[in-house]
């Protein structure tokens, strides 16, 4: 394996890790505030659909008298993609609000509510998609301004001439879509919010000891809703990336394909901390890239079958969670609805 091949692998890793990272940070906000969120998958799916649907509509030219099945849209340029992102975030936040309502206000079981979100998203996306576009639940293929394309970072070619670091900058860091950079920036931002602001302190406190927060005269309910909504925003970005920032260029039913659950595993692996979350997601992204690129690995004596390579991220999840990382302690009040003492 030469350097170029290694960088191709890293390039693929970046793309694979982005939705995981966004979803992982989303889960981090929610779970740090004491709301377990198994519905990351569903929120991503809803966002992927909403953003692709709205972007396709916004980019389609306006037709005064459309024939059945033809879309009359807004005819927007690059703004269509951003409108799509906003729609994705809105859809994901609506789902998050539902989860919040069930688990904070109604004090329901958070795991069950999360599972329900996943089922709801899987059904609603196809139902609405079929009603709007009549393509078996898919959205039209996104073209032009309706999707994000790779950005070339400044001086990519100049710096690319420097050995080793240059090609890394040119081939791996540069050329990704903007949502990848947003995802990377979210890591320090999350760390700053959680550990350096008053809001973050309170957020962590409601996940550890909501009683204490309540005693201090701060609304636990409000704090938890805020966390759940931030989770919605980040899942929205993750979903928008899947349908608008990748080669999918549109929505296909169940297109999240388990990424929400991998993100959840990465979150536990990272012990609910932002920077470890970055490394965990990159690791899972790398494993996925390896599994895709080297499907039948010949190690001389025998050939490692493709099934094993593709199962690798999942096997690793089990191995890691079975105790390789030491004790992963979730937030103390996680999963427990807060009941004010009377």
């Amino acid at each position: 394996m030469d350097l170029a091949e290694l960088f191709q692998l890293f390039d693929s890793t970046m793309r694979n890790a982005t939705p995981l990272l966004l979803a992982c940070l989303a889960g981090l906000f929610s779970e740090r505030a004491g709301i377990f969120d198994i519905g990351l998958e569903g929120k991503m799916l809803a966002a992927a659909f909403a953003s692709a649907g709205v972007a396709a509509w916004a980019a389609a030219p306006y037709v005064a008298d459309p024939f059945p099945g033809q879309i009359s849209g807004l005819g927007l340029g690059w703004t269509a993609a951003w409108l799509g992102v906003m729609a994705g975030i809105a859809a994901s936040m609506a789902m998050a609000l539902l989860h919040g309502f069930a688990s904070i206000t109604l004090r329901g079981n958070q795991l069950i509510s999360g599972v329900a979100i996943n089922f709801l998203a899987a059904g609603v996306t196809v139902l609405v998609g079929e009603a709007l576009f009549s393509m078996g639940g898919q959205t039209p293929q996104l073209t032009g301004g309706a999707r994000f394309i790779g950005l070339t970072l400044p001086l990519a070619d100049t710096i690319g001439a420097i050995p080793v670091i240059g090609p890394f900058y040119r081939d791996v860091l540069s050329g990704q879509v903007i949502l990848v950079y947003i995802a990377l920036l979210m890591v320090p931002l999350t760390a700053w919010i959680l550990f350096s602001t008053r809001f973050g302190l309170r957020l962590r406190a409601v996940g550890e000891n909501p009683g204490a927060v309540d005693t201090a005269g701060i609304s636990v309910t409000r704090q938890r809703y805020a966390a759940v909504l931030i989770c919605g925003v980040l899942c929205g970005l993750a979903g928008a990336y899947l349908s608008m920032g990748t080669s999918a260029a549109g929505f296909v039913k169940d297109m999240t394909a388990g990424r929400g659950f991998i993100a959840l595993a990465a979150l536990i692996f990272a012990k609910w901390k932002p920077y470890p979350a970055l490394w965990a997601c990159l690791l899972f992204g790398l494993l996925e890239a390896i599994g895709s690129k080297y499907q039948n690995v010949d190690v001389g004596a025998f050939v490692i079958p493709v099934q094993f390579m593709q199962a690798l991220p999942y096997i690793l999840t089990v191995v890691i969670l079975a105790g390789f990382i030491g004790k992963a302690t979730p937030p103390k009040a996680g999963g427990q609805p807060y009941v004010k003492e009377r």
Binding site: S134, T246, S247, A249
Partner: protein
């Protein structure tokens, strides 16, 4: 409830009595059932929809249709259609096999057709395709298009049927350029592999990074990502099942056609003429059941040499000079 059942039974009796019209045609009530994915999936189901539409336009005979939404509906939908006296009933998709076996036995007077699977009953016509022959043809085109000598294949779920596509394709590529490299990737080993365009795009990008300049997919919804990745990277994609050339005009070299539309049209037509014959039909290149697509989106991409070569291969397959190996017969592929 009993009354309703009795009514339905009566309706079934009435419906299945085939009435001959003066000109030798038979009065029919055709019906078609689409599989998961829906009739506008731009692939398999859309092809059966187009076949049914063609029949309707030519004859003016309306048909009933149903789109399966979940696995549980297969048998239910089929039985309902049969009870209502629809005849013939065409269903598309290998997943319908067990439902067909159950229902067709209950309604011996109704004519059924299943596509992509074989049901051995006296009132069922089964149409299956030689996908390996069609894949061979697009393999020939891929090899001639390729300048790097490396081409790619992205499959959906890792099952025998998809390996059959892959194997035919490899044989086609090697028949033109024995030194060519074919990079083969499967998306996954579960049903989710049909609906993961993100991974499809990732696999295709990986193959393109390794030098592939033509990528063929047999991956359902996942293929969307494959064709998009090919178009984004300035190389050629090859579509599957239905004609997918229009998805990215100029960047889809051709599509491996599976004439599901013809199979549906044929069933309706044969029934109308009173010539519906049950049994197994295997459609290959010779029967024009599989082939490659040429339309206004790709005619400028295919050179005269390419057309000549692929037509030559087609003739040789028909004459038997070229025997394309079918992966599913022995679970192995002579070329790789």
């Amino acid at each position: 409830m009993k009354f309703v059942t009795a009514l339905m039974g009566a309706a079934a009796l009435l419906g299945s009595t085939v009435t001959a019209v003066a000109d030798g045609h038979v009065e029919i009530k055709p019906a078609v059932i689409f599989d998961l994915g829906g009739k506008f999936d731009r692939s398999f189901n859309q092809a059966s929809f187009e076949g049914a539409e063609r029949f309707k336009q030519e004859t003016g005979i309306e048909y009933r249709e149903f789109e399966i939404q979940s696995d549980a509906q297969r048998e239910q939908a089929l039985r309902r259609f049969a009870e209502q006296g629809n005849n013939p009933i065409v269903v598309a998709g290998f997943a319908q096999q067990s439902a067909m076996e159950a229902v067709a036995a209950e309604f011996p007077d109704t004519q059924f057709q299943i596509i992509d699977a074989y049901v051995d009953l006296p009132n069922v016509r089964s149409v299956v395709f030689k996908e390996h022959e069609g894949s061979f043809l697009v393999g020939v085109l891929a090899a001639m298009q390729s300048e790097s000598g490396t081409v790619g294949f992205v499959g959906g779920m890792d099952i025998g049927l998809i390996r059959k596509f892959a194997c035919g394709y490899v044989q086609g590529v090697k028949s033109v350029n024995p030194d060519a490299t074919v990079i083969q990737n499967m998306t996954g080993t579960t049903g989710a592999a049909w609906n993961d365009p993100v991974k499809g795009g990732e696999l295709a990008t990986g193959q393109i990074d390794q030098g592939a300049d033509v990528v063929y997919h047999a991956a359902g919804g996942t293929g969307r990502g494959v064709l998009q990745a090919a178009a984004d990277n300035g190389v050629m994609g090859i579509g599957v099942d239905a004609n997918q050339n229009y998805l990215h005009p100029g960047s889809v070299l051709t599509s491996m056609l599976k004439r599901v539309d013809v199979a549906v049209y044929d069933a309706f037509k044969a029934a109308q003429q009173g010539k519906f014959e049950p049994g197994l039909e295997v459609w290959g290149v010779a029967e024009e059941g599989v082939g490659y697509a040429v339309d206004e989106n790709n005619e400028s991409l295919l050179t005269e040499d390419m057309i000549a070569a692929v037509e030559d291969a087609k003739a040789k397959i028909i004459s038997g000079e070229i025997q394309v190996h079918d992966y599913t017969t022995d679970d192995s592929c002579p070329a790789s």
